[in-house]
Symmetry: D2
Subunit: 388 residues, 4 copies
């Protein structure tokens, strides 16, 4: 049952100063079950080597490009078991393809790709090469999000009637890309971020979170995307009305110009029997509300929670877990599934619950549908099934 | 400066068991400046008399119909100074007209009328007969709402970019009108409530609150109104995207099927310099957020607040005020303006800040525009100016 | 069942600018069941007359002293049914005595008297003259406090093991009495406030609240009272350890120098089966916590609450009630009991639940015991039974 | 500036199923700067080996006793740089001594020792052998606690007048040690936990936190320790009044029988100019309150915070950090100081801010003083300086 050894992984992206690369490394390190042994950290070979030194890596395993890394590592006896892709969006597809085709498992940041064609191609490649592919929709890694999903799935809310999911941030309320802010520069640049900024970067998390918790699929949507900061190339605020299959109504919004908001992802789900609310900034609590009984606050780490939450919890109640622990859960679960393949054992079914390449394709489709609806000022069909 | 006597008022509606009539009476009583002396409390003369007795009124001033009351009271030397209209919506117009035409001032519940024609007719009647007319959009009576308005008006938020105003309730999540629930019966009945339930009853408060705080007017809107409880005649959930004049974006929603929500009116306003949030269920606090400074919580009753809040505050900080005190502020301000007319003095300009007959017409226009947009599944022009 | 008429009351104290007099008048007015008809509002006859005019009283019923008022009103056919005493503490005893001895019911502010001898004398006078006497420990008027009491009484918390009750304020963190602040001047003056400031003014509320909710009586206490603002005559901060009869432990503290605190009365009660928490500044919610189940938030106005809360609730859930409504509940309940006496009917048992003259004596005893313990730096016996 | 290699560490305690050992390992792993290479995980050699296998350690470096480990590792060229001691309290002293005397640095759990003699002996040993010694008062690792300390130190609160620090838990509200609960068994056993349970385990954190933030030292204290669960050997609830040097007053309490509380460490500090509040269960926010300005919420990760918070922050604002990240900060800082010694460089002064062996001795003295005061029912001198 215990793993026979630690997993070995490499990283594409995550050079000096890159926020998300550091997050992935901390997430991977937390449980002591995997170690970083290789990397192509930057499009600059010099910066890649610098990062390798800072991380105490063997210099021969620090590469100038992901292609070199894919080739060299796939030929080593002790090559990496999986790769972690943490670059700007436009690099995801090529990098993922290079490793998948060599049978190396992938953990990839989101949104998965910039075009739907690429997303669907990845679905087919994952299928063909039979690799594990996990997408870091990290908010699904929170134990109380898993509790929410389990309760909805068990019917404790009744039939879902309404979903309100919102993701306001304020960090792009000025044109900071004009003065060289690194994150802002690529996230608002169509060449690197794709067709959308707010919806691509954070609206896609909101879409994924709502679908993860409720299981509901969109039927049609009406989007209103706006660029509120003059001079910006992509939208920085987007508000969407949703009709879900089966009749539920929804509001989904993402904003990068909501001054004073930090990372305020929040979801409310209303059913015929009960409703729930979860807030990413206070992630250890899940609120349940009823027509005829006191509100209940479910708190992470307690024995009254279900197995999905318990399986992703590290600390007792009252000892708060947060963003990194949730992120680490994606690594932990995907890592266990990869390890089971290596050890030739059966994966624990609970470990299979992480975002997949199909989730990635659905997210990319959602982004493009929102852009189209807003352009046409009309309801647009949002029904979609990715290649399985 | 002090009033020469107490005001005398009568009430139309508010018979035994009527929630909102009792609210109006408590609001009017709180400051000891006005007394209830007459009433036509019910369409049943017997129930009207019953209510009169319970309130210790002179039986000769308890009437069977509002027409009788308007006629009799307008001829008395000590007749009522103003009337309070607290009936279901469809009665508002006729009752208001009857008193206005006799020069009696009016405080009227909302939404003001069921049709735009009636609303505009009231605007003209108020103008013609030169009476004071106050509409009980009571949420504008909260001191911290007034503080919010004052801060926006002073430019402390910069240019407004986005408004999110929401009003979820859960009390109509079952078809309770089918089993005779009195409130539910008339509020979901087109003959009495008009073209809308959720938007009419509470969406109109959300519209008024957003406009009161920001001063922004709608340019166009896209509404998605739904009836989620089978068998119901009017919509019980409505979600609206808004374009405001000047470019701000908005989300406005009202729901009566959001199980577990009580009366959760909440508004967030995002400007270029700061944002604010206010929640009706915790009304003594106003949150201000900034791009580069700690969040601030402004608390009712403190000397650092502006004059609008101070003018409507009764208790020191930490001694919470709530719904009734806010409601009473509408009565207090309108009452003072009425008293100034009686005493032949100049009204304090701060007392003039209560919802008017024009606010009522704008609200009625908004409701009808939302219904039309939802029917057409399209953006609809929402620009409107009522007769002044 | 309905009252035959409105009650008539007079007021001692509450002259121009007096905060607490205005609170009492609003509380009395709220339900429309009693009217203010007489007053001795100030030790200055001129200021008393000024207040009478502002309140539109009959000038012949505005008196220079409470003795005149007691004598004149007791001889009128339409004299006052009860008196409301809202002066500084040192006047309470004399005023209460004057009215009680004439058979006039009393609603009196707290702490009841400055000495235990006076407190016990009032107990005997109330008994002898068979009048209704209510003490405005207004925080017991909150519906959710009543819910808390009902749940403890029903055993839902099991055996109580610990009580933490705290009442921090910050308004006396400077020596404002030195610059003529009216409230501060008398509350820190031994001649008017008695032996204590923080414990007398607010610690007595904390003592009363804990006893009201739990029914527990003190066995011994250890107090640490301090004067933290140099130049002040009475203590402005007090922290007390308590042993309750039966073995429960307690912490009770009151502070007037806790900068930034407004009126933050809060209580937590821990039992063997559950615990509760209630905060005066967010009074509509009551938190219940369990060893093995989610936290529950009981919210005012819901059908799942008990009859004690329901009996003191005016508004539906989500329409917050606050300080004045709770204060008004003391008036409402005492007023109904007085009215039942006048009408010769039986009082509703639920109406008898307001603070009595015995509660007042216990409070005075508590204050003096705390002062003694602090002086002696030792545990002191706190067991006490007032004359019944 | 960058470290020349990863640190190597060993662990004493932390066998299969031990909560705190797992916490230390995750904390050490998070930043990727140190690796676990050796261990004496259990008093059972078999269980120690089991743990070593699960952690993929070299079996030759998994030891049966800490003495063996100290001896063997001190003789290896690639021996451990430091040891992490995570056993029950009674083992701390012997284990720490064994490693210190061999010049191996120590990170040790708290309370440091069971007797003051042992604590002082450790102070002398650390001095004599010139090793780095860090005590895991992990709550001081929270960035917002460091912000609090920095603000107090900069005089932003003025002179401190009052501290209220509380640490309620509910997990020992039943006699679970009687049915073999592992944690409960040793924590309530005088032979292993020492003279105190509640004060030793969590009261010591409260003491440390208050001292860390304010810098104030105790002058005298009056404690009331109780055993509220029948059959328990040590106290499970303790309430203490404190006089700090310089005149500030304090309340410090710790409880293990506060049903429904999880790990609710909370501190409020009141100064002449401002007050602050911090809650461990919502650790990313720090509340500042003022006499004459809105409350401010300082939020982790923002540029307006000081350097102490910034130095211990890993994620941007709105991406919450929590317990493990705070715990990891103690490891990170102590690890850097150790690494600087190895590399022969100067330690960054900001890295020196972690709890020391002297803090441990002060904590042990505090525990014993509280026990003595409670036994004597009297104020007891609490002034103490450990050997430096």
């Amino acid at each position: 049952m215990a793993a026979s050894r630690k997993l070995r992984y490499g990283m594409v992206g995550g050079g000096p100063g890159a926020f998300i690369g550091e997050v992935h490394r901390m997430a991977a390190a937390l449980d002591g079950t995997m170690e970083l042994v290789a990397g192509a950290f930057s499009s600059s070979a010099e910066r890649s080597r610098e990062q390798g030194r800072a991380l105490h890596l063997d210099p021969t395993r620090v590469y100038g490009t992901f292609e070199e890394m894919a080739e060299a590592e796939s030929e080593r006896e002790d090559g990496i078991d999986f790769v972690s892709i943490v670059t700007p969006n436009h690099v995801h597809f090529g990098a993922a393809k290079a490793f998948i085709e060599r049978g190396i498992h992938v953990i990839c940041d989101k949104p998965m790709t910039n075009t739907l064609e690429e997303a669907e191609e990845l679905c087919r490649l994952v299928q063909k090469h039979d690799v594990v592919f996990a997408l870091t929709h990290n908010y699904t890694g929170y134990p109380m999000v898993r509790q929410a999903r389990e309760m909805v799935s068990a019917g404790e809310l009744g039939t879902i009637r309404k979903i309100v999911v919102e993701y306001p941030q304020g960090w792009l309320s000025e044109l900071i890309e004009a003065s060289g802010h690194k994150q802002a520069s690529w996230r608002t640049d169509p060449a690197r971020a794709g067709v959308s900024s707010a919806m691509g970067d954070i609206g896609s998390h909101a879409e994924n979170l709502a679908r993860y918790i409720t299981g509901l699929e969109m039927e049609e949507l009406h989007a209103d995307l706006s660029t509120l900061v003059p001079g910006r190339q992509l939208e920085d605020d987007g508000n969407i009305l949703v009709h879900y299959k089966g009749g539920a109504r929804g509001i989904l919004y993402a904003s990068q110009i909501s001054v004073g908001e930090e990372n305020n992802l929040r979801i409310r789900v209303y059913g015929t029997k009960a409703s729930l609310e979860w807030k990413q900034e206070h992630p250890n609590w899940l609120h349940l509300r009823f027509p005829d009984a006191p509100e209940q606050i479910f708190k992470r780490g307690n024995p009254y929670l279900g197995s999905a939450a318990a399986h992703t919890t590290r600390l007792p109640s009252g000892h708060p877990e947060a963003f990194l622990e949730a992120f680490a859960n994606i690594y932990k679960l995907a890592g266990r599934v990869i390890m089971a393949r290596i050890d030739g054992t059966e994966a624990d079914p609970r470990d299979l619950d992480f975002p997949t390449v199909q989730d990635g394709a659905i997210g990319v489709h959602f982004i493009h549908t929102a852009v189209e609806s807003s352009r046409r000022r009309a309801w647009v069909n949002a029904d979609y099934s990715p290649p399985s």
